[in-house]
């Protein structure tokens, strides 16, 4: 049995010695390099492009502008959550007439080296007529605001609603009401490796593309349709990648441009995004506002919620369609049994980089809003915020529980969970009962100490299906072809672990193939915390079947009863007579003789998403003088149904937490009023370093296995991120005994904390002893 063991990763040895193969490491003879020329303006008309000086530079092979693209080229379509009415807001690979964000591609230069291509980019003359830009949601919605997409009659290009019960009546009858505004700043996934592509045309008219990693089978179809060619002519090959987090592997303008140009110049072309490009060009996320009213009674029972949400989606609709706004709304109700709610979400376009999903899309934002709100209710009533949560939880006997919202093509139906139990475990672990004493003691010593909670429900295991092919080859080695993608999270180890568990072999005996569209014919890739609960299950079920067949082969060979047989790393053997064994090569040969196929193809159809849940708790100190926030303790308790490899699960949770911490305290893609990005380097866009990240205590529980799959697993990729904004905001608010309207916007910077310290001190509501 290796399921449940924290085995070491099979990916690591090559990565540790510098033998990883990332896209920029792909070497082929005659490789040209591309540089994408981007609009410096947020909103402008292109009056003309003069490429003569750029083309004249020695080493320049091609200068490609929109006029060089096919006249019937279609825009990049939506992959997830498509809404047909948004077709007019899709992005073309190169802007031909109007640019709508600073960073929008207007040309591509291909040269012998990146150095020469960048020289040429400086010589490309693009004449623009500037238009007024809108960057802010409020400004974009004004009647006199410049319209981004004239075919759509408003900058509010889409709205959706979810309703349960009569929220209007519930709010009217509620003994207490709170009305609050919330905001989450624009920030992004920012993996440490930027995007990149290497496109290699061959003599037979095929094109081999390294670099697209995540949903290669989807993207191959998109590329074929944009190139107007047979998908069989396109071969995608996944490389190692430096982190995914939702942004990598979506279909971006370059995913068309680089293969298109490589085909035209009949030479391999490499494009590696630089960091400033990345911050301007790769999907942004998170920016949204909420205006809400909650009704409750004096026991803290939540009676109704009305929330109007505006999502700043940037200049275009990209491949994620309206996934982020939809998931915001779908998961906003969280773990609570709301009698009534009415949620309305608007999608607003502005002259900023387009948005897509980023780890815990919509849940990071919605959890911040909801959990800050619950603590505001508790503060208003002078109640323990954990008690208010407990009083409103959906009970395990109410599961499956229909929330009344809809996301990713499914009604949200929570499959299993014991929310009270995990909250109790977390409270004990954090010594919550003693916290008031710690807080008072800290005050006496001149510190502001606070604890904040955030309960979350995540979604995972999005289907509709995943496939695996597991077998034993003639040479006696095992293979697994999976439709999943490896984005650095340990997919290979996970699959090998599930397979080895069934076959009695060592994980490193399994050769994994994924993301190569010539070898793996179909798959849905890795996103939405789906890997383990879909592709993992497919591989596990296939391995189980393979085990059965291997045992039949061994029965034949040994003429023994199945109960007397066991499988080990070397092969099957007879229990009790260790000399009676066969090697794997022998098994493969014998199977051929007796006509047993040792190649199992399994498709697993996920009936419904599955919903893991948990709680974050943060204990912080806030400095009186500087507002500096230091995290003294941080706990994440998370029920993942079943942890296949606890080390990997904890790794996901801790890494996710620090990304959430960046969004809570540091990171912001700030813009000026003209639509210029102000944080385009790592000196302005602050990722958490080892000095901001705390040691994170993690408790994994397995109380509520999923009802939807044979292992009971739920996804673990996002819950580490989901609750961080909320827990830290609540902790800072608690440290200051701040009112409900405080800390309702992220990020929380020292100056935010300091401003509230000053304000509350002036009102004599915060006394320094």
């Amino acid at each position: 049995m290796t399921i449940g063991e924290a085995i070491k990763r099979i990916e690591d040895p090559r990565l540790l010695v510098g033998k990883g193969q990332y896209v920029a490491d792909v070497r082929v003879p005659g490789l040209l390099e591309a540089c994408v020329v981007r609009s410096p303006y947020a909103h402008a008309k292109i009056l003309g492009i003069d490429s003569s000086a750029a083309s004249a530079i020695k080493g320049v092979v091609a200068v490609v502008t929109a006029s060089d693209l096919p006249s019937n080229l279609q825009p990049i379509p939506m992959r997830l959550t498509p809404a047909p009415e948004l077709a007019h807001a899709l992005q073309m690979p190169l802007a031909s007439n109007v640019v709508r964000y600073a960073g929008e591609p207007v040309a591509v230069i291909v040269a012998d080296s990146r150095y020469v291509a960048e020289d040429a980019a400086e010589q490309l003359l693009v004449e623009y007529e500037m238009f007024p830009a809108v960057t802010d949601i409020g400004a974009a919605m004004r009647a006199d605001a410049p319209l981004l997409h004239p075919m759509l009659s408003s900058n509010t290009i889409y709205s959706m609603a979810s309703k349960k019960g009569d929220s209007n009546q519930s709010l009217r009858q509620a003994p207490y009401r709170l009305t609050l505004d919330f905001g989450i700043q624009r920030h992004a996934a920012v993996p440490l490796e930027t995007r990149g592509l290497v496109a290699i045309p061959d003599e037979e008219g095929r094109i081999h593309v390294y670099g697209p990693t995540k949903v290669v089978h989807f993207n191959r179809i998109i590329l074929a349709s944009l190139l107007n060619c047979d998908p069989a002519l396109i071969h995608f090959i996944e490389t190692d990648v430096g982190g995914g987090f939702g942004v990598r592997g979506e279909f971006y303008p370059e995913d068309f441009l680089i293969p298109f140009i490589a085909r035209n110049v009949r030479q391999p072309v490499r494009w590696i995004e630089d960091r400033m490009e990345h911050l301007k060009a790769t999907n942004h996320s998170r920016e949204q506002r909420h205006h809400l009213t909650v009704g409750f009674d004096d026991s803290g029972r939540l009676l109704g919620l009305e929330d109007e949400i505006w999502v700043n989606t940037g200049a275009y609709i990209r491949t994620h369609g309206v996934t982020v706004p939809e998931l915001t709304q779908a998961m906003l109700p969280g773990p609570y049994d709301w009698p009534a709610f009415h949620l309305i979400t608007h999608v607003v376009v502005t002259n900023k980089t387009p948005m897509g999903t980023y780890r815990a899309p919509g849940r990071y934002e919605g959890t911040f809003v909801r959990e800050r709100l619950v603590e505001a209710v508790a503060h208003t009533l002078h109640l323990d915020p954990t008690v208010v949560r407990d009083r409103n939880f959906i009970q395990s006997e109410q599961m499956p529980y229909t929330v009344g919202t809809h996301g990713l093509g499914e009604d949200v139906v929570f499959d299993s969970g014991d929310y009270s139990r995990i909250l109790t475990i977390a409270k004990q672990h954090m010594q919550w009962a003693d916290f008031p004493g710690r807080k008072a003691q800290a005050r006496e010593q001149g510190h502001l100490r606070g604890m904040g909670w955030a309960f979350f429900v995540e979604k995972s295991g999005l289907g509709p299906w995943e496939q695996a092919r597991v077998g034993l080859g003639a040479e006696g080695t095992f293979y697994c072809h999976s439709g999943l993608a490896a984005l650095g999270q340990g997919t290979e180890t996970l699959l090998a672990q599930l397979i080895s568990d069934q076959l009695g072999i060592k994980p490193e005996q399994v050769k994994l193939v994924h993301g190569d569209t010539d070898v793996v014919p179909a798959g849905n890739g890795s996103f939405a915390s789906r890997g383990t609960a879909t592709g993992g299950i497919a591989a596990y079920v296939a391995a189980k079947e393979l085990r059965k067949r291997i045992l039949i082969v061994a029965e034949h060979c040994f003429e023994a009863a199945p109960l007397d047989l066991q499988l080990g790393p070397e092969g099957p053997y007879l229990v009790g007579s260790p000399s009676r064994r066969m090697g794997w090569r022998q098994v493969a040969a014998y199977a051929g003789n007796v006509g047993i196929e040792l190649d199992v193809r399994e498709r697993y159809d996920a009936p419904h998403m599955t919903y893991p849940y948990g709680v974050h708790a943060a204990e912080v100190d806030v400095d009186w003088e500087t507002g500096r926030i230091s995290i003294e303790r941080y706990l994440i308790a998370y029920d993942v149904g079943r942890a296949v490899n606890p080390a990997l699960v904890k790794g996901q949770i801790r890494g996710g937490m620090v990304q959430g911490l960046g969004g809570a305290l540091l990171e912001e893609l700030a813009y000026d009023d003209d639509g210029q990005l102000l944080s385009g380097t790592f000196m302005d866009y602050l990722l958490p370093t080892s000095c901001e990240a705390p040691d994170i205590e993690v408790i994994i529980t397995e109380d509520a296995p999923s009802r939807h799959n044979p292992l009971g697993v739920k996804g673990c990729g996002e819950g580490g991120t989901t609750g961080v904004g909320a827990a830290l905001a609540n902790a800072v608010a608690d440290a200051l005994d701040a009112p409900p309207e405080a800390f309702t916007a992220l990020p929380i910077r020292p100056e935010t904390a300091r401003a509230w310290i000053r304000r509350l001190s002036a009102l004599q509501r915060l006394d320094r002893l």
């Binding site: 690591d12 010695v17 990883g20 080296s113 150095y115 190692d240 590696i272 340990g490 370093t689 080892s690």
Partner: protein
């Protein structure tokens, strides 16, 4: 805007390499990766913040994205490919990263390993806080740093035990 090309030699991981006919402006990172094929050195930001491209130059950590290849002439360069004692074994630090799940995507790992190799020579018995301080010039987006700190701690303990 044409450049004369130049040729020079670099000493990397104990070997001498010829770098022929490159532009003088070529960065050390690009020379290592694109000319010498040592692609274990990674570029994460190209402006000296993320630390992924860190190599050891005459024993000291240096950002290979912030210096020219020719500037490294005559100095011993160590890249991630040069940290393990041989093809079959990992260094004590690499081994500890494997044991402690100190990496996920592996992209930042090269620069962290070179930096921490230097750091453990300076401070063979560091505290967690000292490790965090020494790591703070290297960004990691996957791990949350905690397992990296633990791995460095473990490597220090193992190296100490091995030398006693």
């Amino acid at each position: 805007m044409e450049f004369q090309t130049i040729s020079y030699e670099l000493k990397v991981n104990g070997k001498t390499y010829r770098v022929d006919d490159v532009e003088p402006r070529m960065l050390l990172a690009d020379v290592l990766r694109d000319v010498l094929g040592l692609t274990g050195t990674h570029l994460g930001c190209e402006h000296g913040v993320c630390g992924a491209c860190t190599v050891l130059l005459a024993g000291l950590p240096a950002r290979s994205c912030l210096m020219l290849g020719i500037g490294a002439q005559g100095k011993e360069i160590t890249t991630v490919e040069g940290l393990a004692p041989d093809e079959e074994h990992l260094s004590a630090l690499q081994e500890a990263f494997w044991e402690e799940h100190g990496l996920q995507c592996g992209f930042c790992t090269s620069g962290i390993l070179t930096t921490m190799t230097w750091f453990l020579k300076q401070n063979p018995t560091p505290t967690r806080a000292e490790i965090r301080e020494a790591l703070s010039g290297n960004l990691c987006r996957c791990t949350g740093y905690q397992n990296i700190v633990t791995a460095v701690e473990r490597a220090a303990a193992n190296m100490k035990a091995a030398s006693e």
